[in-house]
């Protein structure tokens, strides 16, 4: 029953990278692309296309291949109920689906996992088959996290942990134990653009590189779904905001090309550090 892993593919390049990682290990992946969301590149692997409401067919396609492990990967906007075209397997589960769509994001994602587990599948995280797609531990380039910034990092970690009780952002910019910007619905890139603007306008006065971006999944978040990610834009925007570096939760933040991002950050004069909870007392 352990014939590889079924990847339920949202948008972006992560599903492709994950499939590549699976096959590179000599294992099998079967990709289920969400129509209108997943990239056409999934077609280079064994795949099928599905509408987001075709729950029944999703279960059938995976079961038919004797696959037990299922992983959700790639970007997915929270659907409106009217966007769902439910198949019979979906219609039978309408009460559960309505419950999913009426809580916070966390609630919805946990519910989706339960739905799959209820069908006998093991829902797994990307770390179980492609850990290289997640942030590493410690300094990822030659620019080390300095002692003064380590204090800011601990401050930011505590801040994000306290915010975890709310279905809110997963990133913050901190400088000298001062919260410069907090991410909510706008996303990390928009938050970093705001920080750049605050510096230009003199609303945040700092000489030269200052402050750090800290990004992490929510405390208590199920790491099997909806992990935060950083990419080339994150680093370019952190450079524009003239930060000193970026710290991400080790094994808790997706990075498509870890070595490439570490090098890009280094060229921009930014450290790139993967922190663990051990830092916070």
């Amino acid at each position: 029953m352990s014939n590889g892993v079924a990847l339920i593919c949202g948008g972006g390049a992560f599903p492709i990278a994950a499939a590549r990682a699976v096959f590179a290990r000599g294992e099998q992946a079967f990709l289920l692309g969400l129509r209108g969301i997943a990239s056409a590149e999934i077609e280079q692997f064994p795949h099928v296309w599905l509408g987001i409401g075709q729950l029944g067919r999703t279960f059938d396609e995976i079961s038919a291949r004797q696959i037990k492990r299922v992983c959700f990967i790639g970007g997915l906007k929270r659907p409106e109920f009217s966007d769902l075209r439910l198949d019979w397997g979906g219609v039978k589960r309408i009460p559960e689906i309505i419950r999913l769509l009426t809580g916070g994001d966390d609630h919805a994602l946990k519910g989706v996992i339960k739905l799959f587990e209820g069908e006998g599948f093991d829902v797994v995280g990307v770390e179980s088959f492609a850990p290289e797609l997640l942030a590493g531990v410690g300094d990822m380039n030659k620019l080390a996290l300095s002692a003064d910034l380590a204090e800011d990092l601990v401050y930011a970690q505590k801040f994000l942990a306290d915010l975890s009780a709310y279905d809110c952002g997963q990133a913050v910019v901190v400088a000298n134990k001062r919260v410069i910007a907090v991410e909510a619905v706008e996303g990390t890139d928009a938050m970093l653009a705001r920080v750049a603007e605050l510096r230009e306008k003199g609303r945040w006065r700092a000489k030269g590189p200052a402050g750090l971006l800290v990004k992490a999944p929510k405390h208590g978040q199920d790491l099997r779904v909806d992990l935060p990610a950083i990419g080339p834009d994150t680093i370019a925007n952190a450079e524009k905001a003239v930060l000193r570096g970026i710290a991400v939760a080790a094994q808790g933040v997706l990075m498509l090309d870890r070595a490439g991002l570490a090098a890009q950050a280094e060229r921009a004069g930014l450290f790139l550090h993967g922190f663990t909870e051990a830092n916070v007392q």
Copy 2:
């Protein structure tokens, strides 16, 4: 020794309104305008102009008039040490001043209060002589806070209370127990502009008026200095963000013209509510 109150005047119209309120009560106010910051309108009242570093002279001017009560009022950006032109009374207190300038904003303000108390003055809040300049309790216009929004208000109050441990923003926009935007260094107006943009871009999808702005002083904040404020811009920006209303901490948020703001909000279809801590269990 109770010859009225000394108003140490930062920028904006609040010092003028406060002085007017004092004289309207038949009491005396003496205004100490911070040069380059306070409005020239203070000159219609008994006043003196001072540089921000002239601590010694500040104490002397107040003492010479047998005034015991001192109130800080009006906007004041945190000065850089290099901006201060310390007089002898300031130079003598350099170690204390350096301590003030190296902590968070809260720390600095508490330190300034201590400095004045150390000289024998009573530092008082605006509520002690002009409570009409603060938010009232309950609905301030005809648009009442509805039951569903009352839940969001409690959620937002808890959120802001949890954020109080950090020297961070004092406002948040919440809709259906979802944090849409959090204020940090950018200020309330910029945060509301962001919310309007999130709606326009469809990043936050809501039909018609939705969400509320909640603004309050930090928990444990000394209400004698640096109270948050709302004004006509706050209401205009909340209207542009198509919110349902504004809730502020009763007696904890400055409002220059309470009746005028309540009417402006009502015309914009926004409720304006002053909440108390009693709402939060």
